[in-house]
Amino acid sequence: MIRLFFTLLLFLCALPQYARAADFDYSAFAQIPVLHEGRIKPLDSFARLHLKRFSGQSHVRDLSPSAWLAQTLFDPARATETKLFFVQNKDLKMQLGLPLDQKLFSVIELQGALAPTLSQIPALLAKEDGALTPAQNEVLQLHDDVLQYLSLMRSFSMILPLNIDLPEKYSDSAPNYLALYPVQDDILRDVKRIIKVKGDNIERYSKDEQKLAALSYQLTILQNAAQNNQSLAIFPQGGPGGWRAPWQVFAHEDLTLWQNLAAAYRSNNAQHWRDISAQITQHAQDNTSATTPQKLKLEILYNRLKPYHVAMALYALSMLLIFAPARFIWAQASFSLAALAHSAAITARMMILERPPVGTLYESLLFVGLITALIALFIALKQQSRAALFAGGMATLLLLSIAPYLLQDGDSLEMLVAVLNTNFWLTIHVLCITAGYALCILSACLAHVALFLRLRGGAKDLLRKLQQNIYPISMFALLFTAVGTILGGIWADQSWGRFWGWDPKENGALLIVLWLIWLQHGRISGHMKPLHFLIGNAYLNVIVALAWFGVNLLGVGLHSYGFINGIAWSLGLFVAGETLLLSGLWIMIRIREKKPHEA
């Protein structure tokens, strides 16, 4: 099968090149709806995801994602030369004979390099996940990516011109598969007759007979390779599950618009391109009720604006403004704008996905970040507290900058597995728990600030105010984590029939609750001095991190939906760092505060 793809590739490469689509307007093209990973999305998102997956980047050279997709679909010859595939592993490059200093490779380059590894694939696939070396993993990934890319590239191969002289009998027909499809059987019959008469030595054929044989061969290859090609489910057919790819519908669906679009692209006609892509967008949107133009536009806007980057920049600005000799109101204003962008981003996601904001680990980080920021902003506005704004801002920045690392293949805005797809409980339980996380993190960051202040001495008023803030925040944290945890139990009872199963994620949530109960009772019973209470609160960061990510590392139980590789080290480092920092602070504060008594 794979060999067949490469053969086909050779054909595609032989196609004439003349397209140059520099100043095209891709905005209508980007809006064409497509079914991908269980959801109707605009081509823009589809292109971005694939581009990110293949190249790890959001642009190739000067091509935007939509421009790249258009090239892939309509000008395969050029697309095969585009440096697209990201190969990082040095061992792998060595093994494949690829230049070590090059990072991106074209499919042509990879095709040659990967061919010798084809024979290893079955053996590699038979191995267990953990048993593969990074290089082996990447080989598999690369093969998979190349196949996926070729399949995408062939999505519209039936309407692209074949690089061939048509025999006289069919010379009136357009030189593409779609036009020749109705007469394909005739062509095959003709060829069989020739073989019967003249045998299979092509040299004995007349010129026209040679053309006929070549045509028949190409049509067959094209058809075989495109069978089951469902990469681009772009034709709405009936119900929500009924979207089909071009090769599934070309026999009965009118592809004229798409043919014109391809022609416009290949003849470099910007005007036609814009008009026809707008027509296709209109046509597709008229033919489906599964999505609305507004939703598609919103998603494209979300893709383009990158609201989290905007929010992060504004949060960072407000952090600078706190220390700048400017009035505090500027920092507050910048922070408010950041929080606004952040909220808008989460709202947009909810509208696009039509579900509550937290369903994946990535989304939980975004949401916890927002809650942390909002509470910090509330305190900062109410009490004019720079410390609260600083603590909240730093925590949010940290959360937002970790978030992208939890996405392995780009943000696909994915749908949820069945067990999680219960909107009511998902909303209540998960939002409660994540709000609890946010409160814990805020409390911990405030405690960090308080500890540093205490180490520095002075600022007694500020310190007292901070401590007064920390107490109710950690009470709120207890409320939300405790209620959230029990609600999780109730959700489990409702959905799976057991209230509490000592599942790692449940235990993680309980861990936070127990820690908070411990702090509160230690404080009340007088066993925990204010300094220890502060340190205990500061350590909440670690407890939350363990509950949030640590349990995923165990990879057991019902909650392993958020399992991620390679996070163990970062988590270990974080826990060790915080432990060191806080014990260091504790010792230094004790030394510092003892001295005056001795003196």
Partner: protein
Amino acid sequence: MKMLRTYALRLAQADMVFWLMPALIALLLAGTIAQKWMGLYAAHQMFFSSFIFWVGPLPLPGGYLLLGILSINLTLKFLLGSEWRWSKAGINLTHLGALILLVGGLLTALTAHERYMVITEGQETPYMYDYIERELSIFVDEHLKYKIPFDKLPRTLSTLPFTIEIMSTCKNCEITKRAETQPDEFGDTALHGMAQFMALDPKPREKDPEADLSGLIFKVDGLDATQDGIYVAIEGMPAPIMLTHNEQIYHIMLGKAQSMLPFSLTLLDFVKESYPGTDKAKAFSSDIIIKDGDLEWPAKIEMNKPLRYKGYTFFQSSFERAGGVERSIFSVVENKGRLLPYIGTIILTAGLLLHIFMILRRPKKRKAS
């Protein structure tokens, strides 16, 4: 009496919680991390469903003990140590809520029973099976006569007209080939059925006890020469072991402990719905008919939407598809403590909210005075 009160008051102190929590936290961490290696069930049994567990020669407090002390502390605190003032109402309510949750947990631990049912489309059954317990069942002329829990098998069974002597059992067995050259461990005794080429060796329990393959080897005496001898029984045998005596047919089977619902379920149709264009499941559901005495009516069990009837709760937990036949797997739960967590949560939430409300109001009061 006074002394008792002194002790009780001591036990009601907040510092009890301060000392208990680190132990509970440590237990929780250990019990969670251990799951990676022991599996959820075994870790659960060792750390959480135990009073004391041993690490080498060292006895450590288990979940029951720690939660028990916590419950005593909470009860005494609530009854003797509560300050019945408006300003403490939040704390008192919170403690009451927590206490109810703990009692609910105890009740669940004592009464909850989880089993499962497998029903093929078009079939009716009242039977459910235990996830963990196995049993040996003996049928006489197709009627179930004896059911013996696997853990309570006696050395010899003499209630039958012939004797069954249990030679060996294993809760999780490795099936090995009985080598012909191997000196026969049973001497001259004849080997029957699978015993002729199969031997059983115990192996470590699976992480998931449901996946264990239990088995036993027994010796039959007191029948005729063609039937006396050694037999092997393993869970999920394709056919039961068959013996005949006085024209009566005895079937012997080993399997998951079976019990009967006071009514029956019929599976009409199982439906799996996927996200468009993918294999990712969006929802599962089963259309069933409940038959109770002379009454019968249709119902639906959906993922996340269980069916509750007569104290049993049925959940769509899984399904099987093989050879064009669909089977629905339901987990069946009986739990008498079901309601308490709901009540506890409401009280606890109200209590904590009230308490936080009080804290936030406090500074203003000071200002006013």
